[in-house]
């Protein structure tokens, strides 16, 4: 038995060494772009296609946006990452202001809308996600809906479901409220939601399922979670409503990327980002039912039926600088 367990331990440590060798092997291959990515929706396939088309391999490491930024910072010059990719604008902007990114060639962002590109080309948005109002068509008439702010109206008492304050999407939405209304104005809005006994939930899918099951009438989620649920069940009884169309437009965040300051081969990194914004754009955004940043690519068929909308122009600097305020505000308002 003693020999046996020694044998097992040796075997397992050997396995670890073997997999380490595998990792090393992969790393010492030909030209490879290495990506730190906060995003992982079907990204593997897009990267595999890129490798097929260009002959450049892509290695990626998934993680949380903030953790990967922290890691990039801690690693400094010794980092192996060439590209930093996130699922929200705040962390991109923070990486840029912490000098963790380097400017890209103007050709990379050619044809993309100005507000989705950093002024000094430190990062670029690659797909758009809309955080909007969701409702149950049997219990809510869309004419009752208008803005995020209107959800403070007492008529929504006990009918709302929203996402918790720990979530970066909630934080960005509240940051945009602070930007538009100032701290006190935004506090009124969030306090108004709380006063309506809003049910706070820990993920967007739960919100949508609760609306479908009748636990809430209205919620706020990212649009692609609904698209995903509809893909599984075309009869799923929830519809999106584009918020604030008569005003500033609906709240939009981006998933984006930049070239790291210490990239081995910045040109290779730029090429991957350019590809994701052009030839690869369709595959990149369709996999997760997002909206393309490239004007020449149509929205995915799965969500094209939801129609056009006016969007609140993205201001990443505001997202980054107001995020901490947003957390403070939610705690002051008693929004968990």
């Amino acid at each position: 038995m003693k020999q046996k367990s020694t044998f097992f331990v040796t075997l397992l440590v050997l396995l670890l060494v073997l997999s380490a060798c595998g990792v090393v092997d992969a790393l010492s291959g030909d030209a490879a772009v290495r990506v730190y990515s906060g995003r992982h929706y079907d990204l593997e396939e897009a990267f595999a296609n890129y490798a097929d088309e260009t002959g450049n391999d892509v290695e990626f490491l998934f993680g949380g946006d903030a953790e990967l930024r922290e890691r990039l910072d801690a690693e400094g010059e010794s980092t192996l990452a060439d590209v930093f990719m996130t699922v929200d604008a705040a962390n991109l902007e923070l990486a840029a202001s912490d000098s963790l990114l380097q400017p890209m060639d103007a050709a990379v962002v050619d044809g993309l809308p100005d507000n989705l590109v950093h002024p000094e080309l430190l990062w670029v948005g690659l797909s758009k996600r809309v955080r909007t109002i969701m409702y149950h068509p049997d219990r809510v008439d869309p004419s009752e809906l208008s803005t995020y702010e209107d959800l403070t109206d007492p008529k929504w008492q006990g009918r709302l479901c929203m996402r918790n304050s720990n979530n970066v999407y909630t934080q960005s939405l509240v940051a945009s409220l602070i930007y538009h209304h100032g701290y006190d104005g935004a506090l009124d809005v969030v306090s108004g939601w709380v006063a309506n006994d809003t049910e706070i939930m820990s993920n967007d899918v739960l919100i949508l399922q609760t609306i479908a099951a009748g636990g809430c009438d209205v919620g706020i989620t990212n649009h692609y979670y609904l698209a995903r649920l509809l893909e599984d069940d075309p009869e799923f009884p929830v519809l999106p409503f584009w918020a604030n169309q008569d005003g500033r437009g609906v709240h939009v965040n981006i998933s984006g990327a930049g070239v790291t300051a210490n990239a081995d081969d910045p040109e290779l990194a730029e090429d991957l980002i350019r590809w994701l914004a052009t030839e690869g754009q369709e595959e990149f955004v369709y996999g997760n039912h997002e909206y393309p940043v490239n004007p020449s690519v149509p929205p995915p068929p799965s969500i094209a039926g939801w129609g056009d909308f006016k969007e609140d122009p993205l201001n990443a600097q505001q997202f980054a600088s107001l995020n901490a305020e947003a957390i403070r505000l939610m705690s002051e308002a008693g929004y968990d």
Partner: protein
């Protein structure tokens, strides 16, 4: 060995302790001067609420685990009923179930849109009452049923270790079984029970994945929120120091509860004569054991299996499942071996040093268990980056360095589990034994080889099992330090779960559960083999840090 001082051993011990504390200290030093501004805002804002949630959760989970663990242990020790032998070992298995997995299954099944409430509504109408499961109560329930095995394992060892003489005397003097339990058995097991509860509380205190599902804002969640969301690493670390402080208070309380009493038992330990339960009572016993297992193991595994076979979503690259699993296991075993080696070095070394101060300082190696994972990870990352800067950009070297860093971080984080077990085993060596060896002319190194190492063996095995299980389930550290292309089963769960693809996460979640059961089963086989020697229940020391 008393009296004589050995500076070499002091140096070795202290060096090992420093190496283990270095990552935590590094991060901590960065935040040595409290940023008054941020603290003022935290104190005026969410901090009181966070403290309240944390304390409530600790009391609920600590109390719950104590009750469930102790009563189940007493049930399988003092009574006989059909299935008792199977339950005895099966009741340890929930240790293999990560709380974050049971948490999301629990919410999926019992929340408003889940099958249970939907069924209730369809029978009793829309307004049927159901407790709010997405609450501190729900979180406490889930954590109690994944963490009670710590108490159960230790309590069972303590009950088995006690000589039945005292219990039987109490019975003969006319105490009922219950009174004898309350007045004799439990007080004598108190130090061990306190140690078990302390482990449960440390795990609860540093968790920040499970509590977030239930939207419970503990101080550990606060660390995360301040760090990720407010981009304020300093304040985050100071909050982490607050977590450490709570842990120290809890351990102080544990000492208080344990008292200075030390129970030495005379006579050969043998098991208490079991009372055979019949009829309704036996059904109740089976129901209690079965109910706990149904909730903590059967329900989640059944739901995961249903998801696995019905889910239409993408699971990711299932062909690499074996690779992920072997990465997980290799990492866990390497960390367990590392932790046990350092634990033996420190526990034995501090004894050889002959210095009371070194002996006390040695206990500091356990600090990592009370620090949230990300804090340890950042400290290790900084060290790894220094080294890799010195090494140049050599990809092979960087990967090996990063894997070594991972193992290092786990040794730091889970040292308490290994050290506690080893230290408790060594505690059984009486000074008389050592003196006798010396008198007979044995050199110190021979004493260590022939007395301390063999004695440490049992504790080391138990410690290794606990570290292995915890590493298999661990997430924030591996997420932050791993090299490119290195994915484990827990990372796979996270990738899917963080995108709310719960049902797709079934496959990797099952992988973790099965993998974590392996060390438990190996340990149990060992225990059965050793069961002749009742005086040596290895896991008993896991929590006893003295």
């Amino acid at each position: 060995m008393t009296g004589s001082r050995r500076p070499l051993w002091s140096t070795i011990t202290l060096a090992a302790v420093l190496a283990v504390l270095a990552p935590i200290a590094l991060v901590g030093l960065g935040a040595i001067s409290p940023s008054g501004d941020a603290w003022g805002q935290l104190w005026a804002g969410p901090l009181p609420g966070m403290l309240w949630s944390t304390l409530s959760l600790l009391v609920l989970v600590g109390g719950g685990a104590l009750m469930v663990g102790t009563s189940l242990a007493w049930l399988v020790t003092a009574y006989d009923f059909p299935g008792r032998r199977v339950f005895t070992w099966a009741l340890m298995l929930p240790l293999a179930m990560p709380a974050y997995v049971l948490g999301f299954v629990f919410l999926a099944v019992f929340d408003f849109a889940g099958p249970v409430q939907t069924a209730l509504r369809s029978v009793f109408g829309f307004d049927v009452w159901f407790p709010d499961v997405s609450s501190i109560g729900g979180a406490a329930l889930v954590m109690t049923f994944t963490l009670y095995p710590y108490v159960y394992i230790l309590a069972r060892s303590a009950f088995r270790e006690q000589t039945p003489a005292t219990y039987e005397s109490a019975r003969m003097l006319g105490d009922s079984r219950f009174v004898a339990l309350r007045r004799v058995v439990l007080p004598m097991a108190r130090p061990t029970l306190a140690a078990g509860v302390a482990l449960v509380i440390m795990e609860t205190l540093t968790d920040f994945a499970t509590v977030q599902y239930f939207n419970v804002q503990t101080v550990s969640v606060g660390v995360y929120q301040v760090w990720r969301g407010m981009f304020d690493r300093e304040t985050a670390v100071e909050l982490a120091a607050l977590v450490l402080l709570i842990a120290i208070l809890v351990l102080g309380l544990e000492r208080l509860f344990r008292g200075s009493a030390k129970f030495f038992q005379r006579g050969a330990p043998r098991e208490i004569e079991r009372v055979t339960l019949r009829g309704r009572r036996s059904a109740l016993a089976i129901g209690a054991c079965g109910g706990v297992l149904a909730f903590a193991i059967v329900l989640p595994i059944a739901q995961l299996l249903v998801w696995m076979f019905t889910s239409t979503g993408t699971v990711g690259d299932i062909g690499r499942a074996f690779e992920y699993l072997s990465n997980s296991l290799g990492l866990a075993v390497a960390a367990a071996v590392g932790a046990v080696v350092v634990a033996v070095l420190v526990a034995a070394g501090s004894r050889f040093s002959g210095s009371g101060l070194v002996r006390k300082a040695a206990h500091l190696v356990t600090a990592g268990y009370a620090v949230p994972g990300p804090v340890v990870a950042i400290g290790v990352l900084v060290i790894v980056s220094w080294l890799s800067g010195a090494m140049g950009r050599n990809p092979t070297g960087l990967v090996l360095l990063s894997l070594t860093g991972l193992v290092y971080a786990y040794v730091v984080r889970f040292m308490a589990l290994a050290y506690g077990a080893v230290d408790a085993s060594l505690e059984k060596i009486t000074p008389a034994t050592v003196d006798a060896a010396h008198t007979l002319g044995a050199t110190p190194s021979r004493v260590m080889r022939q007395i301390h190492f063999p004695m440490a063996g049992a504790g080391a095995a138990a410690g290794a099992v606990l570290v292995t299980i915890d590493v298999l389930k661990e997430l924030p550290i591996v997420l932050l330090i791993r090299p490119f292309g290195f994915t484990t089963a827990s990372i796979w769960v996270w990738e899917l779960a963080s995108e709310s693809r719960w049902s797709s996460a079934a496959v990797p979640a099952l992988l973790i559960v099965v993998a974590a059961m392996i060390p438990i089963v190996i340990y149990l086989r060992r225990e059965r083999r050793d069961s002749v020697i009742l005086s040596d229940p290895p896991l008993v020391g896991a929590g006893a840090r003295r």
